[in-house]
C-alpha cells in the first residue's frame, strides 16, 4: 500500500501541481493609476479657448474668505480632526482618487457604458420595447448605450469637464488661495498637493459637473454616481488638498456648467434618433428606388435599426453643411461585380481565419456589453494621459478633443449608413457566418474604422511619439471587421478616410486653442 500511495502522489499530485504552477487566479490590471503628480500646473488654462461656454467668466466664483478668517481657520481645524481619525476605507478612497479625477471618471464612465450597452430583449410577440428615459429602471433599462449613444455620452462628459475646469483654472488664478496642506503645517498632504491654487477645488468641480451629466446620461445609475462624486469630494478634503469652502465653490461651479450642457443635450436631436416606423420604411424604399438591395435586420425577430436619425444629431466642431460635404462617395452598387468580389472576400476571409486574425477580431470586437469602440479608444488614451502626468485640465482637454472627434465621427458615419442603407455581407450571402456579433444597422461605411481613424489622428497630434502605435491600432481595429465577417473592404477603407477628415476639425481646433 505504501508503494501505491507514493505512486498515487507521483501520478496525481505532481501533474496537478505542474498544471497549476505559475497560473494562479490573481489577475493583472492594465490601468492602475499612481498618485497624480502633474508635470505642469497649466496655469494659463483659464485663457484656453472655450467650446460651448462664452468664456471663463460666464460663471462667476465669488471671492473666498481670507486665509486668516475665523471661518477658514475652522475649516482647517476640521481637516485636522478628520485626518486624525481616518479609517482604512477613507484612506482607500483617498488613494483611489489620487490617481486623478479625470482619469477616474473616465474609467467609471467606461464601466457605465459597458453596463448599459445591452439591446432590449424581444417581447413574446416578436416586437422590441424602446428604452424609456422616464422609466430607466424597467426592462429594458435606459439607456441602450450602443456605440453612437456612447460616443455622445463620452463627448458630453469630457467637454463639460473640460469647460468647467478651464473656468475653475481661471478663478483659481484670480484668488491664489493655497491648499490647506500648504497653508497649515499640521495638515498632511495625503495625496500630491502642488502649487495649484485650491479655490475653487478642481476635484469638486469635476464631481459636480460629472455627477450632473451622468445623472442625465445614465439615470438608473444615480445612486452609484452620487456616491462616487461624494467620495471624490471627501478625498479632496481628507487629503489636505481642499478646504470645505474650496469644495463648496467647486461643486457649485461644476453643477452650473453642467446645466449648460444638459440643456444642449436636450435639444441636440438625440431624442429623435430612434425614428419612427414610417421613417424606417422610407429608408428601405429609397434604396429600392435607387435600384439597390436595402438593408434588413438579420436578427430574429427582426429588430428596428440602431438610431437611424443619429446622423442628424448636433456635432461639436462641424457645421451641418460640413457634415454633408465631408461624406464619402456612394458604396459599390449591390448588383456590381465589385460588390460580388467584396462579398467573396468576406466569405473567403472568415472561413480561413488564422488564430491571429481571430484574436484581432475579438480584441476589437467591442460589441454588446462592452464599452464600445469609442470606449476602447478612451481606454487607449487613458494610459498615455497617465504616463504624460497631465494636469486635470490637460487630461480633460485630451479626452474632450478625442471624444468630440469620435462623436462627430459617429454622427458623420451614421448619416452615411442610413443614407445608403447598404446590406451586410451576411445578407447578400447567407452562407457567411460571423465570428463576432452582427451589428443591427447598415454596413457602409464601417463605424469602427471611422471611430478608430478619427481617434488615431487626434491622439497622434496630441502624443506624436505614439503616432506609429496609434496608426497600427487603427489599421488593426479596421481590418478586424473584415476578419469578423461583418464588413466589406470598401466599408473599411472609406470609413478610415472619413474618420480622418472629421478628426481634422478637432486637430485644427487644438492647434489654436491656446493650450500649446
Amino acid at each position: 500500500m505504501r508503494l501505491s500511495l507514493r505512486r498515487f502522489l507521483l501520478t496525481v499530485a505532481v501533474p496537478c501541481a505542474a498544471a497549476l504552477s505559475g497560473c494562479d487566479n490573481t489577475i493583472t490590471f492594465s490601468e492602475t493609476l499612481p498618485p497624480l503628480q502633474a508635470a505642469s500646473l497649466d496655469s494659463g488654462a483659464g485663457s484656453w479657448q472655450m467650446i460651448v461656454l462664452s468664456g471663463p467668466t460666464q460663471f462667476t466664483v465669488a471671492a473666498p474668505a481670507a486665509e486668516t478668517s475665523a471661518v477658514y481657520l475652522a475649516e482647517l481645524t476640521a481637516i485636522n480632526t478628520a485626518q486624525a481619525n481616518l479609517t482604512d476605507a477613507q484612506r482607500r478612497t483617498i488613494a483611489y482618487w489620487s490617481g486623478g479625477g479625470v482619469l477616474r471618471w473616465n474609467q467609471i464612465l467606461r464601466g457605465l457604458v459597458a453596463r448599459f450597452n445591452l439591446p432590449p430583449a424581444p417581447r413574446p410577440d416578436g416586437t422590441y420595447p424602446v428604452p424609456d428615459p422616464e422609466n430607466p429602471f424597467a426592462d429594458p433599462q435606459f439607456p441602450f448605450a450602443n456605440p453612437p449613444y456612447a460616443a455622445r455620452a463620452y463627448s458630453y462628459v469630457s467637454v463639460a469637464q473640460f469647460e468647467a475646469l478651464k473656468t475653475a483654472w481661471y478663478w483659481k488664478y484670480q484668488y491664489h488661495r493655497p491648499s490647506p496642506a500648504r497653508l497649515d503645517g499640521s495638515i498632511s498632504a495625503l495625496m500630491p498637493v502642488g502649487d495649484l491654487p485650491a479655490y475653487p477645488s478642481e476635484d469638486a468641480v469635476l464631481s459636480g459637473v460629472t455627477v450632473e451629466m451622468l445623472k442625465v446620461l445614465f439615470p438608473a445609475a444615480v445612486a452609484e454616481i452620487t456616491q462616487r462624486a461624494a467620495e471624490q469630494r471627501n478625498a479632496a478634503l481628507w487629503s489636505g488638498k481642499a478646504a470645505a469652502s474650496d469644495i463648496a465653490a467647486g461643486l457649485a461651479l461644476g453643477k452650473a456648467v453642467a446645466a449648460v450642457f444638459i440643456a444642449r443635450a436636450g435639444a441636440d436631436g438625440m431624442r429623435n434618433a430612434v425614428g419612427t416606423k414610417a421613417q424606417w420604411q422610407a429608408l428601405a424604399d429609397s434604396a429600392l428606388a435607387r435600384g439597390e438591395i436595402p438593408w434588413i435586420s438579420r436578427e430574429l425577430p427582426p429588430r428596428p435599426p440602431m438610431l437611424p436619425n443619429f446622423g442628424q444629431v448636433q456635432t461639436w466642431l462641424m457645421t451641418p453643411t460640413e457634415v454633408v460635404t465631408e461624406r464619402p462617395p456612394a458604396p459599390p452598387s449591390t448588383s456590381s461585380p465589385q460588390m460580388q468580389q467584396e462579398v467573396a472576400e468576406v466569405r473567403q476571409t472568415v472561413d480561413h481565419l488564422t488564430r491571429e486574425q481571430l484574436a484581432i477580431a475579438y480584441k476589437w470586437n467591442d460589441g454588446a456589453g462592452t464599452y464600445t469602440p469609442p470606449g476602447h479608444w478612451n481606454d487607449i488614451a487613458a494610459e498615455y494621459i497617465r504616463d504624460a502626468q497631465m494636469s486635470e485640465v490637460r487630461a480633460a482637454r485630451t479626452f474632450a478633443l478625442l471624444n468630440m472627434a469620435m462623436h462627430d465621427a459617429a454622427v458623420g458615419c451614421w448619416g452615411v449608413k442610413f443614407l445608403y442603407f447598404n446590406p451586410r455581407p451576411e445578407q447578400l450571402d447567407p452562407s457567411i457566418h460571423t465570428v463576432i456579433g452582427l451589428p443591427n444597422f447598415p454596413s457602409y461605411p464601417s463605424g469602427h474604422s471611422t471611430f478608430s481613424s478619427s481617434a488615431a489622428v487626434v491622439l497622434s497630434y496630441l502624443f506624436p511619439d505614439g503616432a506609429p502605435a496609434f496608426d497600427g491600432m487603427k489599421e488593426e481595429a479596421s481590418i478586424s471587421r473584415l476578419y469578423g465577417g461583418i464588413h466589406y473592404r470598401s466599408d473599411i477603407e472609406r470609413g478610415k478616410e472619413h474618420g480622418a477628415r472629421i478628426a481634422g476639425y478637432a486637430v485644427r481646433f487644438a492647434q489654436q486653442d491656446g493650450a500649446n
Partner: protein, 305 residues
C-alpha cells in the same frame, strides 16, 4: 445576442467510459481497473439545447435556435496496481447554431489526466462491499481556442485541478449505490481583449479570475451479469461568478449551475473484451447554462499486459 453553453466541468463528470471487463470505471464511480489492465476507447457525445437560463430567467433565442455541441473523446485507463488507476482523455469538440449568423467553432478541447486510488474495500455485514476512493484530476487546454465566443466556444480554456472523494456500496444481489463529490480549482483565463464587464464591474484586464466549482453525483444502479444500468443525479455549483445579464452574451466566468439526470446502459462483450456504453442525460434546472439533452455512445477495448 445571448447564448449559453454547456458547463466545462462536464467532462469530469460524464465521460464514464474507461472500463474493467465487467464494470465501467470512471473517475467518479466505485470501480477499479485490475493491475496491468488497460482500457482504451472512443466516446461520441451530442449535446443540444434550444432554451437556456439567462441568469435565472429561462428563455430561447432566435439568434441561436438550437445550439449543438458534439464531441469525440479519446480515453484510456491503466491499472497501475489493483488499488491505483490512471486515466487520460482528450475530446475534439465542434459547435453549431441552427439560426442566426454566428460561426460554429471546432478543435481539441482540454487534455485531462486523472489518478484514482482505492482507500478502502471492506465487506459490509454479509450483504456487499463498501469502497472508498479518492481521485485527483488535472485538465489543461490542448489547443489555443478562445473561450470568449460563448456559447459557440468549445471550452473555457482554464487549467483545472479537482480533488474527488467517492463512496460506493456494491450489494451481492447486484444493485449498487454511489456517491461522489469534487472540488475543482480553476486558473485564470486570458482573453484576446483588454477589458470586459462581468458581475457588475468593468475589469480593465485581459485576464479573468475563474471561480471554483463544487459538484456531487448520486447514483444507483443494477448489475446483472455483463449488464450494468446506473442512473444518476448530478448537481454542479459554481462558487462565484456573475449572471448573464438581460440580453447579454454568456461569459467565461459566469456562475454556471445545474442539476442533471442521467441514465446509462453499459454492456461488456466477453470474447474480444469490448465494452459498449450508451447514455442519455438531461439538465433539469440550471443557471447560466443551456437546458441540454445529451446522447452519448462509446466503445472501448480492454486488454491485460
Amino acid at each position: 445576442m445571448p447564448r449559453t453553453r454547456h458547463p466545462t466541468v462536464l467532462p469530469f463528470l460524464s465521460l464514464a467510459l474507461i472500463a474493467a471487463p465487467l464494470r465501467a470505471q470512471a473517475i467518479d464511480d466505485g470501480a477499479m481497473l485490475p493491475r496491468r489492465a488497460m482500457a482504451a476507447g472512443l466516446l461520441y457525445s451530442h449535446e443540444s439545447w434550444s432554451q437556456y437560463w439567462e441568469g435565472t430567467l429561462k428563455r430561447d433565442n432566435g439568434n441561436i435556435g438550437t445550439l449543438s455541441t458534439q464531441s469525440v473523446t479519446w480515453m484510456a485507463g491503466y491499472g497501475v496496481t489493483d488499488r491505483l488507476s490512471v486515466m487520460a482523455m482528450l475530446p475534439y469538440v465542434w459547435t453549431h447554431a441552427t439560426q442566426g449568423p454566428l460561426h460554429g467553432m471546432s478543435g481539441l478541447q482540454d487534455f485531462t489526466l486523472a489518478a484514482k486510488y482505492q482507500l478502502l474495500a471492506t465487506p459490509l455485514t454479509d450483504r456487499g462491499t463498501l469502497r472508498a476512493m479518492v481521485a485527483g484530476v488535472a485538465g489543461i487546454p490542448a489547443g489555443n481556442y478562445t473561450p470568449d465566443f460563448l456559447p459557440l466556444s468549445i471550452g473555457l480554456a482554464s487549467r483545472q485541478f479537482s480533488g474527488r472523494f467517492t463512496l460506493n456500496f456494491q450489494a451481492h444481489q447486484g444493485w449498487f449505490l454511489n456517491g461522489s463529490a469534487a472540488y475543482t480549482w480553476r486558473t485564470k483565463v486570458k482573453l484576446d481583449r483588454p477589458a470586459y464587464y462581468t458581475n457588475g464591474q468593468l475589469i480593465l484586464s485581459d485576464e479573468v479570475a475563474m471561480p471554483a466549482v463544487f459538484d456531487y453525483t448520486l447514483s444507483a444502479g443494477y448489475q446483472v451479469g455483463r449488464l450494468s444500468i446506473p442512473i444518476s443525479l448530478t448537481q454542479q455549483r459554481t462558487l462565484g461568478g456573475g449572471d448573464i445579464r438581460r440580453q447579454d452574451m454568456p461569459f467565461v466566468s459566469n456562475r454556471m449551475d445545474f442539476v442533471r439526470l442521467e441514465g446509462l446502459v453499459m454492456y461488456a462483450v466477453p470474447a474480444p473484451q469490448l465494452g459498449i456504453r450508451i447514455g442519455m442525460s438531461r439538465i433539469v434546472s440550471g443557471r447560466n447554462v443551456g437546458q441540454s439533452t445529451t446522447l452519448t455512445g462509446g466503445l472501448y477495448h480492454t486488454f491485460t499486459f
